[in-house]
Amino acid sequence: MTGAAANFAGWLAADGGRPDAAGPDWLTARRHDALARLGELEVPTSRQEGWRYTSLKALLEQGFVRGDAPLAALQPDALQRILIPGLDSHRILLVNGRYTPAGSAPGDLPKGVRVGGLRDLLAQDPDALRERLNRVAGTEQSLFAALNTASLDDGLVLLLDRAVCLERPIELIHLSVGQDAPRVAQPRHLILLEDGAQATLIERYLSLDDALYCTNAVLELSLGRDAVLKHERIQMESRNAFHLTTLYLAQDAGSRYQGVNIGLGATWSRTELLTRFRGEQAECDLQGLYLAGDRQLMDYHLDVEHGVPRCTSRENFKGILYGKGRAVFDGRVLVARDAQKTDAAMSNRNLMLSASAEVDTKPQLEIHADDVKCSHGTTVGQIEPERLFYLRSRGIPAPVARRMLCLGFAGEIIETLSSEALREQVSEQVGQRLESAPLS
């Protein structure tokens, strides 16, 4: 193995992940292509713009190896611990990256919807995904996407036929349970909505303990003409975990994507959102909220490409940092020469609760068209003493008052979640995290 492939040999080694592992021939060929690409890529260093503030050293040192993705027997009460009371969903469970029918409850699905595990679907219908998989991601994948493709094995598949509307949300739970050695799971999720289809997808990354593991997820999302997808992602990995997401999104004319990214867990977390428009008058809304405390890095990279006219994008990320928490926001909006009447607004606001927390924020607009409405803004600030005093003057103790103000700050993003049950759960988690936060 050459290039970056050599550095990540352990990620590729075991049965399921070998480029010549089971699956249709076309898939084997794709894995080989990705492996070849890995041979050409190098492990990024801080000299590369996208990795200037984030080191891969800690991740490489863990020596993660790909598991055989055994179907770990879940404790009977495990499922009860991770379900959100009051959230009525079509549930798909992945354990350590592998689709697990035992904990899944897809329920009654309308005609024209396919939901399930990627591996299952390929076993039943080997050619079903031939033209679809790897299409939005393309072949020029970055390191971690290429690693995922070279190991492509399982994940969520959600296919909606033309004009199909799902009322209840699809809930994807990605659960990691402790194993004998530090393992990496590389789920691949494929979400395709044909013209006019509508759905809500809730994606949750969880762990039952504080195990050390790595998740390297890749998502490919494609929205047909006038399709609508609400996509709510909750990263609540174990506090020792490493988490990577690379999300590729392509939108046809008139489609609407509303994404919410909540980052609470993991010791090291990097999310790349790569979106582009294939047709006019499409809207892409990316909301984000992250909390970073001691021993925690939250790293977000947005790459929003306006290549056609009359599309709208919003990027609104907020962060709360405390202790020695670190965050990176690297947002880029590119407006091509032909993308007239583009409407784009990017914002990144950070609330710093301690002097030793750090955020590197870098919103960028790259505009080649002349008739556009684009803006960006970024703030890094502290809790305003006026606000704190107002609450305290009403009898509310200072620590509670600080927490209320932080939750108020986070509330703008939490409010965008579509289900009351999920909003409550996220608020509660944020509140709990802030309760343990050293406020100085």
Partner: protein, 251 residues
């Protein structure tokens, strides 16, 4: 219930309060009037515990406790309430949630059981009725995007809910038109009781047409220079504050 003696306070290097004395008994309403820069807001802030002021001399005793040594929340828990001249906007903090947190913090500090959601909502409804307010403000974030009148009404509503023993109304009339002023004053009057004292801080006599004080004090250059009944307010209105400067110069 409140006894202020020889209070001196600085903002930075500058002395604003220069030996202020004030005695307030239960159920009394005291108006404190004075020109801009006399120290009216500084007095409100020092009593409620806002940062940025250094007390250099004097005492303030509230219900037998040394008020100045207490954190702002402890003062509120003891029964002190400040209606802000400029109520602070708290985007993202729901008003109902805020009111419940405030009330329950105070109850908890007093060793009373916290109210559950149902009892709390019942209480809120009662208080709204007393003040003739509707519940539209409750669903919004605290003061966020409120008009001037809405903000002041929200202050009075908090006062009704928290039932303080001593309320300081800091220039509650500022920025209000006559209708809004009447609504706020009616609210304050509805909350008058033999157990509740108030300090009404104002620049203008106008507010005192609606809230009748028992005593009026003139605050100038950091001290109370004259005290009297409500007729003193009328005298001030007639003569303006010019005579104070003259009197100070003479002294």
């Amino acid at each position: 219930m409140l006894s202020v003696k020889g209070l001196r306070a600085n903002v930075g290097e500058k002395e604003i309060l220069k030996g202020l004395d004030l005695e307030i008994g239960p159920g009394e309403i005291h108006a404190i009037m004075g020109p801009n820069g006399a120290g009216k807001s500084t007095l409100s802030h020092v009593l409620s515990g806002r940062e940025g002021y250094a007390v250099t001399a004097g005492t303030a005793t509230f219900h037998g406790q040394d008020l100045l040594s207490l954190e702002p929340e402890a003062r509120a828990q003891l029964g002190l309430f400040l209606a802000f001249q400029y109520p602070v906007e708290l985007p993202g903090v729901n008003n109902t949630y805020f009111l419940k947190a405030a009330l329950n913090s105070i109850r908890k500090a007093r060793g009373e059981p916290e109210l559950d959601a149902v009892s709390f909502l019942r209480l809120i409804k009662d208080k709204l009725k007393i003040l003739h307010l509707d519940d539209s403000l409750l669903k919004r974030a605290v003061n966020a995007g409120f008009s001037g009148g809405e903000k002041k009404r929200n202050e009075i509503f908090q006062m009704a809910l928290l039932e303080p023993k001593l309320a300081i109304l800091d220039e509650t009339d500022s920025g209000l038109d006559i209708d809004a002023l009447r609504v706020v004053a009616d609210g304050v009057n509805a909350l008058r009781s033999p157990e509740r004292s108030m300090i009404v801080v104002t620049h203008y006599q106008r507010l005192l047409d609606y809230i009748q004080p028992d005593y009026v004090h003139v605050l100038a250059q950091g001290r109370i220079i004259r005290s009297g009944g409500k007729e003193l307010a009328l005298e001030l209105e007639e003569k303006g504050y010019g005579w104070i400067d003259a009197a100070e110069q003479a002294a």
